[in-house]
Amino acid sequence: MPPKGRSARSRGRGRGGGTDSSRKNPSQVERADPPAESSETTPSAESTPAQPKVQPAPNDVADASAGSVPPVALTHAEAQSMHSSRPSSPNTTTNAGSRLLPGHESSPNAETDTLARPPVQRLDTVKNAATPTSRSSSPSSRAGSSARGGRGPAATRGPTFKGRRSKEERDAREKAAIERDRERKAEREAQARKERKWNHRGGRVRGRGGASGRGGYMGVGDGPVSGPFSSGVSNKASRPNIYLPSGSRATRVKDEDDDSDVNRRLGITVKKEDGYYVSSDDDDEVIAVPKKDIDTIQISSDEDETGTLDRKERRYRGDTPAMLMPIRIARKEHRDRVVGINTEASSATSAKILQQAEAAGESPTVEGVENVTRKGKGKGKGKVKDVEITEWRRPYKGMWQDEDDLDIKIKTETLSEDEDAVDSEELAEEISKNVVKKQSGSSPEAERKPKLRNKHGLLDAEPVLQTDEEKTEWARFQSSLHEIRRELGPDEKLAIQNTSGDVTMRDPEATKHSVRDDAVYLFQLPPIMPDLLPPGARKELADPNSQPAASSANTDQTPIKVEDGAKEAPISSLKGLQLGSGRVGKLRVHESGRTTLDWGGTSFELNLGQTAHFLQETVCTKITPEKDRVAPEDGGEAVSFGRVRGKFVVVPDWSDMLR
């Protein structure tokens, strides 16, 4: 039985919790500080988006989500309580404010430590036991951290706080804080309970949720991915999307209205859109608002983060998917087809395209991931990465025309430490290798042979590709292999493989819960597929058709007639595939992602099917026979198995068949 019910959920909420809590923040703030005036709330609210980003990724997801709530809320609370409790000393207030901000930028590492600390509820312990150092260094600062409920960042930032508070004040604030915490906690729980049901989305809540159910689909670029190549190459990053508690849409939009550095992050999207943005619109001059492809814009909201999420919630409830947006055909700049000899320039271009396409596919996810990060998990590196990528934005744009920047681009990807980046890096390298190879010069025939061979999906076998189309095709192929590998490969190994400094975010989940559990996949089989016969039935059933079988054995002597029969035999499968029940064979996932299926002795291969852009659910109908029905109305049950997580296409394994 799959995990379900409370216990499973509470753990599963992991990421969902992140969203959850961040969604709640403002309301909490307001409730915690009813007297707070809007003028006060505003500045603190602005600091909100910046803060969670610095939160490092904790190992315990659930804890993190719990722990990350207070930071935001409390920060406001403190700032405000300072206002209200000590109107006479504006200095203190300003200090508090200034202390907050530098703290964010300067000490991500320190915060890494502190985040592991217990959340608000354990305030006393924290205050007494865990923070003596900061207390000793700056007694006055303790007031601040205690008011924050002993939350980590406050403690570490403490020293910069120069204000003084009397014992009474501290006590009072402390008490107030405790009370607030309690209140908040209760509220949070209530809300969490309420929201839990649609918060599983992220999936691992219920087993199936993670996969097919709420969590969705593994596929290539879920959601409307924009960009010319995105439909094909995008998927590098698509998997993390599955874990997004609330889908990538709302988050993406939220980015839009977040403040500047979020916008910079948005730049990831923007930059590549820019590459393709061929528009005569007069809004071209508006630089402040980053351009987004219309396909990726899901909601336009002028509300803040929370507002968006609320809206999202409403949308859910309201059954009004915000997907009904105008659609236009993706535009891309026309480029002359590069024919013939593969010059360095052309390969550079293709690499660029490749990257671009990848980035296009990747960005929503990255953003999404970042958002999750910001909200709950707090991955310290997220920010760094953002910044780095963003910085490449302009060079990147330039590269559109400039072919010399190939290596720079590779670097860009290298900097981003995401697993996806690793992958694209590989691809980029591959292509650069191709260039080298090409330069070394070999006759067309010599090149082509390996190409034929290597098409069977080996990462290390780099074909020599001539045109951009070939290259992108190759990239698509590789990425689909990668996707399969990721989906079907062993989880633990995946985590290790992906560690390029930071252990993957979903590590905790991956080990506990396979993504495949409780998921439903769709397998498409070829129209002509060998029947599968149980051992006993084999002879009987095969007998009518056995001639062909025999004919294949002794081909040479077989008379013509029987050969015709041989040709009939497959056509007999047009009657429909006959499958017995039992063990078929093995599905083997190779390191490269190449996946073979042994179909009772016939060799097949598994390819990644295209991800549907619409909702696909599987349902099992159990119809009560009419005579057994209690009421004529009650015809039985339809049991939903949730969404289809992914699609695979079974194709003949040519490498084996033609061996």
Binding site: R208, A446, K455, Q524, P526, S552, G600, C620
Partner: protein, 337 residues
């Protein structure tokens, strides 16, 4: 390069291996519902507040409909909601439960009202309007009592497995096992506008009545009937369609209770239906063709009329490989689409 290609097997170790099973065919049927105008992010589940309230199936003629609740409190046109709701309710009362092709485009014959000419038609129409207004006023109440169209109907025709087309199976993983279950059919679920049909039909009825009330009902005259011989099953496409529609019309909906994917039942069913219950003792299946035979089966029939077409020897295949590199093996090995 060539050596690299040869080394592939060693270079590319197997990282995961699954035993593949095929589940037995049982009574419960599995459909893939494709909601074509619904984004994958918005499943029809309890969690999103739109778990289908009802599912209907005409198994024989192959139709499925699903009623999805609509939020009547947001962006909802109450007057129209009430009007349509009433139309649907009334026509249902008359026995019209399905519309469009799912009903074979047939309409339930509504017995005519009394034949006396008079203002009854208008009066009822006025009554109707009053009622609608009242429902709009007391919207919540009316909604509870079923006067409001608060569901959206999605439906489609079941596409059964078709010889000559791709076969589809559902794959489920458990530990290191992959279980494949055959899909009974695929349904493309599109929005159904039954409420519009119902409204239009009621309007037609009202017009007819009005006319009757003014002119009086003509005494039913004997009509010339052309006796038609009903064939059991026609062979022409027209006859087939007729038979199909007739069948669709005659078949009643089977109403099914829709269980959410997060329910325990769903889990139970999932593990019961989509897995071989006893993988350990399940028989080993054998393919009816080996690789060569299969290759031949999927190849175009030889144009060589000599007929003596034997499977290629390995060497020959190899030669083809080299000489004809634009052949489909290379292309087909690419990911589809």
């Amino acid at each position: 390069m060539a050596p690299a290609a040869i080394e592939t097997e060693e270079d590319d170790p197997v990282v995961a291996e699954y035993d593949v099973f095929i589940t037995p065919e049982v009574e419960e049927q599995i459909y893939l519902l494709q909601y074509l105008n619904r984004a994958p992010d918005y499943p029809f589940t309890d969690a999103t507040g739109c778990r289908p309230s009802e599912m209907r199936i005409k198994q024989e003629s192959g139709f499925i409909e699903v009623d999805v609740p609509v939020n009547v409190r947001q962006n909802f046109n109450r007057p129209m909601g009430v009007r349509w709701g009433e139309s649907v309710r009334k026509t249902k009362g008359q026995g019209q439960k399905a519309w469009g092709i799912a009903s074979g485009f047939e309409r339930v014959h509504v017995p005519r009202l009394g034949g006396r000419p008079g203002a009854s038609g208008e009066q009822t129409a006025a009554d109707e309007e009053d009622k609608v207004d009242e429902y709009i006023q007391n919207f919540e109440d009316a909604n509870e009592k079923g006067h409001v169209l608060n569901t959206q109907t999605l439906g489609g025709q079941i596409i059964k497995e078709n010889a000559g087309y791709s076969n589809y199976m559902i794959g489920t993983f458990r530990d290191n096992q992959l279980h494949l279950t055959r899909l009974t059919g695929i349904v493309q679920m599109r929005t159904q506008f039954n409420h519009l049909d119902a409204t239009a039909y009621l309007e037609t009825l009202a017009r007819r009545r009005e006319k009757e009330s003014q002119e009086g009902v003509k005494p039913s005259e004997p009509r010339a009937l052309i006796p038609t011989v009903k064939k059991g099953a026609g062979n022409t496409s027209v006859e087939k369609s007729q038979a199909f529609l007739q069948h669709a019309h005659e078949e009643k909906w089977t109403k099914l209770q829709y269980l959410d994917e997060n329910m325990d039942e769903a889990y139970g069913m999932y593990h019961e239906r989509l897995f071989v219950q006893d993988p350990g003792s399940s028989p080993k299946l054998h393919s009816s063709m080996n690789n060569d035979r299969y290759l031949e089966a999927i190849s175009a029939p030889s144009s060589d009329k000599s007929g003596k077409r034997k499977p290629l020897t390995k060497r020959q295949v190899h030669e083809i490989d080299i000489s004809d590199d634009s052949d489909n093996p290379a292309n087909e090995a690419q990911p589809s689409k």
